[in-house]
Symmetry: C2
Subunit: 146 residues, 2 copies
DNA sequence: GGTTGATCGTTGGCGCGGCCAACAAGTGGC
DNA sequence: GCCACTTGTTGGCCGCGCCAACGATCAACC
């Protein structure tokens, strides 16, 4: 990037700072995930599946903050690689139940490690106390907008 | 968005939190700017121009963190609306010198207000002290990656 | 029991943002 | 004069966050 001298007006603007740091974070994570042939949506769905068990696609989207239409594409990709199984819900024929396979669980474990390393790299400059502060503040802002 | 119950794994991950809050911020800013027919790149360039005076496109891109090719498009849009003037640099015939017009300055002032309101809305949940903390932490992370 | 309104999966599309490759024109150092 | 580099421009790619529309299905109500 080599931002030679960013305008002071931007450096002091919270939304700008958020976008910049989020971009850095995204690049770190995307690089790690990319090496495993994954994207952020993949992780989001897999993690949601492990935490809540078999879930319909709509519900899956609501919890990871992913649009219904994007869930379709992501489930396609994940099921093609055997990380996930899509089967019709016998109790509600509109729905598909998405289930995490063993391979998917293993893949998720792998992505967890990759993600952890990315966090480490991202926050390397901050002592533990400051990291917790940052997480706290972000959660607070986020909670207020929902 | 209505994120019913986001997975704990995500809610504790700094990069995820950053992306979510940045998304909220982006939406707030984009809504405000959109009402003025502007995008973030517009503000970035205008602000840079006011702070550093007439600048070549390449330099302009380096300071706002905008790609050369995107600078071209943005300068096109800004010059069509009379906010900016693009003229060849007599001292270096490869370069264009981009200059902020009076209309551009006025537009920038306007966008400044819009942006300020967006920051206010974004951080409404945080007391002043926490806002400063947040800005400090983000700057620290950002500085480490450059 | 049939009608109505909502939900679900799917397809297709849009715009922004961050990139990258290639090219012609021009510059500066050696 | 040659070479490496910079600059502006064009064109393209992908991820992400959206939105509209459609057929199928479900649930509630009368």
């Amino acid at each position: 990037m080599e931002t030679r001298g960013a305008p002071a007006r931007l450096r002091g603007t919270p939304s700008w700072l958020l976008n910049q740091t989020a971009t850095v974070a995204q690049r770190l994570v995307a690089d790690g995930f990319g090496a495993e042939g994954a994207r952020r949506y993949h992780y989001s769905l897999l993690a949601t599946l492990e935490e809540f068990g078999p879930t319909s696609q709509a519900e899956l989207g609501r919890r990871g903050g992913v649009d219904r239409s994007d869930v379709v594409a992501t489930v396609n990709e994940l099921s093609e690689r055997g990380f996930v199984e899509r089967s019709p819900d016998p109790g509600d024929r509109r729905r598909n139940v998405v289930t995490l396979t063993e391979a998917g669980t293993a893949h998720l474990r792998h992505l967890d490690e990759v993600l952890a390393r990315a966090q480490e790299a991202l926050l390397a400059a901050l002592p533990r106390k400051d990291r917790e502060q940052l997480v706290r503040l972000l959660n607070q802002v986020l909670e207020h907008h929902s």
